[in-house]
């Protein structure tokens, strides 16, 4: 499991890392000292959890919300030292106090685990399969929407789900996926 920690204090990061390691799970912890660094990170899509010190986003809430919306798979946890502006805290999925015990952290993450299992159902829905098969034939979003009688917005959201479930983004990669799952026939590619 990959965890991002957006926290300027090395002491806090090391402390949190140590506590996480004691949970005996396979964590990779990446530290960022400001929001810009996290935004520039090349491994964002691999994160499942982000611990964020709310002071690091205080003056950049809209940037943070944008990042959060772009990575809906991440559980965003505010790492709170003391009383903090409620309006900022509300932007997060969860809150963790620095005074938390290892048990409390485990519970927070345990809650997360059940959520992850749901995401692991990687089978595409019937509609997603329909969209995928049109997509790999080279149809545009608009053409797919017309053909399947759905809105472009729906096509886009199906595409997003397809990428999320398969882990494959490029059209040629999706084509291979479609062939190996017998969604389309090999001849189309060759």
């Amino acid at each position: 499991m990959n965890i991002a920690v957006l926290e300027p204090s090395q002491i806090i990061v090391e402390g949190l890392s140590n506590m996480l390691m004691k949970l005996k799970k396979n964590f990779y912890i990446y530290r960022y000292s400001d929001l810009e660094e996290l935004k520039n990170s090349t491994v964002k899509e691999q994160f499942q959890i982000a611990f964020v010190n709310p002071t690091t986003i205080q003056n950049r809430i809209s940037d943070f919300v944008k990042l959060k919306n772009n990575y809906p798979q991440i559980l965003w946890i505010a790492l709170v030292y003391s009383f903090f502006d409620d309006e900022v805290i509300r932007k997060f999925d969860e809150t963790l106090l620095v005074t938390a015990t290892p048990d409390q952290i485990a519970r927070k993450l345990g809650h997360f685990n059940t959520g992850a299992e749901k995401n692991q159902q990687e089978d595409l829905s019937e509609r997603e399969i329909e969209v995928l098969s049109q997509l790999v034939k080279g149809l545009s979003n608009k053409e797919i929407a017309d053909k399947l009688n759905i809105s472009i917005h729906t096509v886009i959201s199906h595409r997003k789900n397809i990428i999320e479930k398969t882990g494959i983004k490029s059209l040629s990669g999706l084509t291979i996926y479609a062939i190996t799952r017998k969604i389309i026939h090999f001849d189309i590619y060759s």
Partner: protein, 237 residues
């Protein structure tokens, strides 16, 4: 970006100890043309002996150890020729080392499993690497010469072909396809047996991915801003 179990490299540390902790640093040495028999030497000594700029070495080395440089560290870098040397050697590594290696493994897989799936993977890989090579060529024939002329303070013609946006678009495509390839092999393509061959192939892919990641960070976040800085400097005469 960093994983807490790796060391943040400083000039007084012993190279050998760092390599034992993170063997990927051998790639760093190779790209700087530094011999692996580092004895008991410190980073500072090794850089001096090999005429590699110390600040550049530290920033790059720390990238291999998972530390992303901050803006101050980047703007303090001056020796662009060390950076270009490193990048050119990385290119050689991709073209003449990684590419033939991966191609060989896929060829072997194909030989043992003459299936539709492997055929598709081979095709995907070839297309992917075609793109990589095209991008490397672009850098070598357009980007690097432009940057070299720039540091030599030669006057640059108004219409050069170099585009920072194109540079970074290439990188995104290359990284996407590599991730796709990995996911196809791990999640979607089912093969029987040949674990050892497949493991070698995957390890080789991971090594390529790791190095390419750092490569694009160096080019986009370090080299381009430095070049931008020189471009906007007033001319001295």
């Amino acid at each position: 970006m960093y994983q807490t179990h790796k060391t943040y490299i400083t000039p007084d540390m012993k190279m050998s100890e760092l390599i034992i902790e993170n063997p990927s640093l051998l790639l760093l040495l190779e790209h700087f043309e530094i011999d692996f028999a580092v004895k008991e030497k410190t980073i500072e000594q090794i850089c001096a002996e090999n005429k590699i700029d110390l600040p550049v070495f530290l920033v790059f080395g720390n990238l291999y150890n998972g530390f992303y440089p901050d803006e101050k560290e980047i703007t303090a870098l001056e020796d662009i020729s060390s950076i270009i040397l490193f990048l050119k050697n990385s290119h050689r590594f991709y073209k003449h080392d990684k590419y033939p290696e991966l191609k060989y493994f896929i060829g072997q897989l194909h030989e043992r499993h003459n299936t539709e799936d492997i055929l598709l993977i081979e095709k995907f890989f070839n297309e992917y690497f075609e793109e990589v090579l095209e991008h490397l060529d672009y850098e070598e024939s357009v980007a690097f010469p432009y940057i070299c002329r720039l540091i030599e303070k030669e006057r640059i013609e108004q219409n050069n072909d170099f585009s920072a946006k194109e540079y970074s678009d290439h990188h995104t495509d290359i990284e996407t396809k590599l991730t796709d390839l990995k996911n196809l092999l791990l999640k979607h393509i089912s093969l029987k047996n040949d674990l050892s061959l497949r493991r070698k192939f995957l390890f080789s892919l991971f090594e390529l991915e790791f190095d390419l990641n750092i490569h694009s960070i160096i080019e986009e976040k370090i080299l381009l801003p430095l070049v931008g800085k020189i471009e906007t400097e007033p001319e001295n005469g």
